[in-house]
């Protein structure tokens, strides 16, 4: 089995953070963890090419890196693509997820990587690819590579991959039909018995977990701050120019309010199927409180109102989409020099 392996500058032996800007290098054969990978894949497996890239370079040139990897992997006649494992390294995880998912989609060969649950690459790519739960500790390298190898070999042989807990990968959010012995009611009652008896049981629908987000520091001087209004209540200009869906929206829009001191119902509409929208349609300030914020700007209570408000529709959105929208909106506002945000949620 011919394998191509992706590593960052640290695991590829180039150096630490000081080498994070390193451009991609291509080596014949296995490097660092690649040697162990060959071992655990077993007889006949050979890492034919290793691509090593600095984490910063990868983060800043992800498209270029992806293309290079697609080209090299195709040229190497690879039957398997492996990246990492990346443990907690965020930039490494995001790059590995991106290249694995591109290889799987474009070249139609198995690809697998490994990351800690907290790695931002998990949220971005776990639906597309198999990411083995590596934990945070790089000393578990062999154990992680063994799990990655087991999944890779099964994919190569076209065998079915078992449940996340059995195979050690991070749940992809895929539902699959299966026959079970007991009805839902029976399983539920059994769980309830176990719960009341203080015994262990496993929920079939684990609740999503939310890792705490560190709070930004307070705004020291509001009278000099640039404040933006964001809403998930679906307020858009008449005609909904960005086609923001009223249900499970996948995008957001930014709408000009420079020189406007009061939002008028006749100029706007609501794209949101989750609440009675008549009141906001009557007076959009009930959702995007521009009228009072303009007065507070006039009185210099706030420095400046950002000249665009941002809207999306927060209804039945998968968590992964919501997180992406949040990241994109935050980046946009950061780029515009916004100091503080009022988010209004219906």
């Amino acid at each position: 089995m011919r394998v191509v392996h992706y590593l960052n500058q640290f695991f590829g032996g180039l150096g630490g953070e000081e080498e994070a800007g390193a451009a991609p290098q291509i080596k014949d054969g296995a490097v660092g963890p690649g040697r162990l990978l060959e071992q655990v894949l077993g007889e006949g497996a050979q890492v034919v090419r290793t691509i090593i890239c600095g984490d910063n370079y990868a983060a800043e040139n992800l498209d270029e890196l992806t293309e290079l990897i697609l080209r090299e992997t195709a040229e190497a006649d690879a039957e398997l693509f492996v990246a990492g494992p990346c443990f907690e390294a965020g930039r490494y995880g995001v790059a590995s997820g991106a290249v694995c998912s591109a290889v799987a989609a474009e070249l139609d060969i198995p690809s697998v990587t490994g990351m800690a649950l907290e790695n931002p690459g998990v949220d971005l790519y776990r639906q597309d690819i198999f990411i083995v739960d590596s934990g945070q500790n790089a000393s578990a390298m062999r154990d992680v590579l063994e799990k990655m190898a087991a999944i890779a070999l099964k994919l190569d042989r076209g065998e079915e991959i078992g449940l996340p807990a059995e195979e050690g990968y991070i749940a992809r959010g895929i539902l699959r039909d299966a026959f079970v012995e007991q009805s839902a009611a029976e399983r539920l009652v059994e769980m309830l018995f176990a719960k009341t008896a203080g015994e262990s049981f496993e929920s079939e629908l684990p609740a999503p977990t939310f890792t705490p987000t560190p709070a930004p520091p307070p705004v020291l001087d509001m009278s000099k701050a640039k404040v933006a209004i964001v809403t998930d209540g679906g307020l858009v200009p008449k005609g909904n120019p960005d086609n923001i869906s009223a249900y499970a929206a996948t995008n957001w829009g930014s709408y000009d309010i420079s020189g406007v001191s009061d939002l008028k119902g006749e100029d706007y509409e609501i794209s949101h199927r989750g609440y009675d929208t008549r009141y906001v349609e009557q007076d959009p300030d009930r959702l995007v409180p521009l009228d009072v914020l303009r007065e507070l700007e006039q009185d210099n209570v706030v420095g400046e109102i950002h000249n665009q408000f941002i809207a999306t529709s927060g209804l039945a959105n998968p968590l992964a989409t919501s997180r992406r929208l949040g990241r994109e909106i935050a980046q946009n506002l950061k780029d515009q020099g916004v100091d503080a945000v009022i988010l209004t949620s219906t």
Partner: protein, 63 residues
Amino acid sequence: MCQVTSVVPVAKMVGSNRVVQGQGIVHVLGNADLPPEEEKELRRKTVLQALEALKSEAGGSQG
């Protein structure tokens, strides 16, 4: 960021650090039952609460 919402438990569950109680799902920053002037005053109060939260160390919710 300060989130103004009528469903404070959801905001807290997802980890919002600064949360202000809104006036209802159908009009987070208003109240259609009030005369326009009073409604605007209520909106002003809610917005000022949000600005106050943004000026304060996070960890609690206002209102």
